[in-house]
Amino acid sequence: MSRSRYQAALTVAALVCATSLHAQNAAAAPDLSDPEVAHVAVTANNIDIDMAKFAQTRTHNAAVKQFAQTMITDHTAVNQQAAALAQKLGVTPADNAVSQSLQSGAKQARASLERLHGAAFDRAYLDREVAYHQAVLDAIDKVLVPTTENAELRKLLTDVRPAIATHLEHAKQLRGQLGSPSRTSK
């Protein structure tokens, strides 16, 4: 079971980073424990918070700024809930290869966004938010919920799902309002 949980986390990493991990890394990496899976979840939230904080400093669009604030508020609330659950369960989130891979993917995404300004930045940021939340949603549905053993952790994932789906719709709606397709987005 721990093997499938590790594969689940790898799938999350692959989906969220929109890159695949090298097979050799996967073979060399240890099984992910519950504390490591918790770390992956917290990392995924922190990545979106950091991206939103950056977006707030770069965008001049009030709606995009408000969207970014909602991402900060909501993902912070989810992390607080995750921290409370971890404390209750006596689990300390532990850094691991998947979390590091997520962080490295986020660094790359940040680097490409840093080159953009104005409407091009807004479109690229929202394109990424659409892809990111869709990936997280897919991971929750297809991998995380079916493979998580701890009932309370599974409930947390289930409780968070509607918020992720709403973020996705919000990002799509805003992206649609920005009009012409982004030539700079991936």
């Binding site: 508020t73 909501d74 609330a77 409780d159 509607p162 789906a165 709403t166």
Partner: protein
């Protein structure tokens, strides 16, 4: 005869409190009908914060409600008011005051 008149005028009716639960990023019920003078209470069951904010001419706003917190509004203005969550603009509700 006088009692009848009071009933007809609605003067004998005590105001009621109605609860709208916010859960799963939705207002439950999404459409609520109340009598003028009734109180509507929104309670947030979600992990993330929400608001219930009127989007029409009559302005009211619960402010930001974190998990477990409640906001209330005494529905004096008759008519149909649409409202939304300002943090999540895809969330909508309707309050009918008769």
């Amino acid at each position: 005869m006088i009692v009848w008149l009071i009933v007809l005028l609605g003067l004998g009716r005590a105001p009621t409190t109605h609860t709208v639960e916010i859960r799963g990023m939705e207002f439950h019920p999404a459409v609520l009908t109340v009598a003028a003078g009734d109180t509507v209470v929104w309670v947030n069951r979600d992990i993330v914060p929400h608001t219930a904010t009127a989007t029409g001419r009559t302005k009211w706003d619960t402010g930001q409600l974190t998990q477990g917190r409640t906001g209330r509004y005494i529905a004096h203005a008759r008519g149909t008011a649409r409202y939304a969550c300002t943090l999540h603009p895809t969330m909508h509700g309707t309050l009918r005051v008769r």
